[in-house]
């Protein structure tokens, strides 16, 4: 995985969090993990196809997920229902769209699949046997994870 590929998703996450939630996002210590597991309460899985193929998994803890939707809607949320999970799915979809646009500037043409929302912890969803990169991210309203696995399908010239 190249730095610019991973960075495209990190930068898109920062931008979308700023625009939609007025929140800054800071990167923690990157780790390599063996398995892509939904380790948080609300997880959104984004499939990438095209010149890069793989998955990006966003994992949000319960309180943070509720707070994010509260910031956007102005309404207090007390559980992760379809409204909350769909809103998280939409945010990730926008992040994915922005990341794919910025990847196209490096001449990597990719598409995103509609995000899948997984509510509940510890459901392994890895389809790739390869290791993925885990980026812990900090915001004022909580910490969340982004798990990235991307493989190049494009032949280098």
């Amino acid at each position: 995985m190249k730095v610019e590929h991973v960075n495209a998703f990190y930068v898109a996450t920062q931008e979308v969090f700023k625009t939609m939630l007025d929140l800054g996002v800071e990167k923690g210590e990157l780790r390599i993990v063996e398995d892509m597991v939904s380790s948080k309460d609300a997880n959104v899985l984004l499939g990438i196809t095209g010149d890069l193929k793989g998955s990006i998994l966003f994992g949000f803890p319960n309180d943070m997920a509720l707070k994010m939707v509260n910031i956007m809607s102005g309404v207090d949320m007390d559980k992760i229902d379809t409204f909350v999970s769909s809103a998280l799915g939409e945010i990730v979809n926008i992040i994915g769209g922005n990341a794919v646009t910025s990847l196209s500037n490096y001449n990597y043409m990719c598409n995103i699949a509609p995000p899948q929302i997984i509510v509940g912890k510890y459901k392994s969803i890895s389809m790739a046997s390869e290791r993925s990169l885990l980026i812990p991210l900090n915001t004022e309203i909580g910490k969340f994870d982004v798990n990235i696995f991307l493989a190049e399908t494009k032949n280098e010239d």
Binding site: M20, M72, F83, S86
Partner: protein, 139 residues
């Protein structure tokens, strides 16, 4: 309160309409999310949705007219984004009319409306404001 000062673009006509749009969207979300039994609130859900949809159309027309008036260079792209969004919502509502207004499908729609509008007003519409300001500077 859904409306936030950072959504302001500095054009009163548009900012006032955005405030109203967010106010209507907020009442729709509040009805969808309150604890009342679904059967009892379905009429309210439909009427607040309708109330908001009507305003979306009205506002898009005014905003597009304003863009033409100031000669906004990205008018066509912006108009297309509005058209696509309207079409998507109409299609969503049409499907629900056929298959039933379930709580899940309405919650999904509410989430889509909310995130689209925040992103659109928070980003695309800001550029209208920036252009309007730069134009004032030239006159």
């Amino acid at each position: 309160m859904m409306w936030k000062e950072r959504y302001r673009i500095g054009v009163d006509l548009i900012d006032n309409q955005h405030r109203e749009l967010f106010r209507r969207l907020s009442s729709f979300i509040q009805v969808v999310q309150n604890e009342d039994p679904w059967d009892q609130k379905l009429d309210d859900v439909k009427s607040t949705l309708n109330f908001m949809q009507e305003y979306v159309v009205y506002h898009f027309e005014d905003e597009e007219r304003y863009q033409r008036e100031i000669g906004y260079p990205d008018y066509e792209e912006h108009r297309e984004a509005h058209a696509k969004f309207k079409e998507e919502i109409n299609e969503y509502v049409r499907l629900m009319e056929e298959e039933g207004f379930t709580e899940e499908s309405i919650q999904e729609l509410a989430a889509r409306l909310m995130t689209w509008l925040i992103m659109h007003v928070g980003k695309a519409d800001q550029r209208i404001g920036e252009y309007a300001k730069s134009r004032e500077g030239m006159e």
